[in-house]
Amino acid sequence: MRAMRSMLYIPGNAPGMIQNAAVFGADLIMIDLEDAVALAEKDAARDIAAGFLRHYDFGDLPVVVRINGADTPFFEADLESIVPLQPFAIRLPKCQAPSDVLLADAKMMEIEEKAGLPAGSVPIHAMLESARGIEHAYAIATACPRVRALTLGGQDLTADLGIQKTREGWEFFYARSRVVMAAKAAGIDAFDTVWTDFNDPEGLFREAKQIVELGFTGKAAIHPSQVPIIHRAFRPDEREVRKAERILAAAEEAERQGRGVVAVDGKMVDAPIIARARHLISLAGLYGMEGGEER
């Protein structure tokens, strides 16, 4: 399993930030050509992002690029210069309906063909940041196979709803639940929006904990200092890890003996619980928690 707990935003026209983005421990980074770039610099940011993707060694760190929306004059040029460089994914902003994804998909097919890449090889992370987009979450998630994640765009969504983001974030409860539900139903990942106040690590931790509990795969970070906080929120409970280890051990034992039924701590364990235990153990591996003694 690839960890995707944190996705660090980096402005596309800031080479000084991109060149160091890989060292802050984020599971993914996202080079932003959209909101973080002034209109007059869209072309420059695109060339910088392409330059880094082509010539820079990010190691095994996945790099996502957020392009400009289909309603802008930059959309096609962004896709044309970024897609052939095979980023981990294209983040597609402002997805309102499946047609938005299909439009990008068609364009990307053309580009992939021209570049000699397998059709559909570059994934899309579809960004839902309007009421309409949220309501179409499942249809967007299943619009085409290259959609591999839904991401919630909180700032635009508050504007669309005409509301203010509160520190508690209850106003996003429905949108978040909807995004997670649609993503899970489609079998893809779900990423939560940013915590904008990087001087408030406690607020970030509380919110990150909430979105972990809702079932998100990961959360965006707008500052390197947010990355470890998000990771802390994803840290599994020690006792649950030990229990998961017992579940997996029992499942392996049952399989060896050809038994279909597994019992742990006197309770029956079925396939989904075993799957969850596997997920938990791989997560625990990121924190060096595996194989420890129960305390």
Binding site: N13, P15, G16, A44, D47, Y56
Partner: protein, 88 residues
Amino acid sequence: MEIAQAGTLESADCLVTVAPAEEFGLDYRGGNRKIYGERTRKLVLETLKRFGISEVQVTIQDQGALELVIRARLETALKRATRGGMAS
């Protein structure tokens, strides 16, 4: 072709200016001038060749940019100077 610029004077960036000229000229300025002079000249010539441009005065104020950044800024400046027409 017209005069165009790309980049910034932020650290790790560079400001590239291209202007029509009778022949190729490169003015590479900044603290790395002495230790990256050859490398920069080579990358400028390569990029110009790709764009099919030779009569140009290139000025680079290098604020500690990586090679790939200088190349990207030069590409942007050349596209702006030629209105995006000649990029390969």
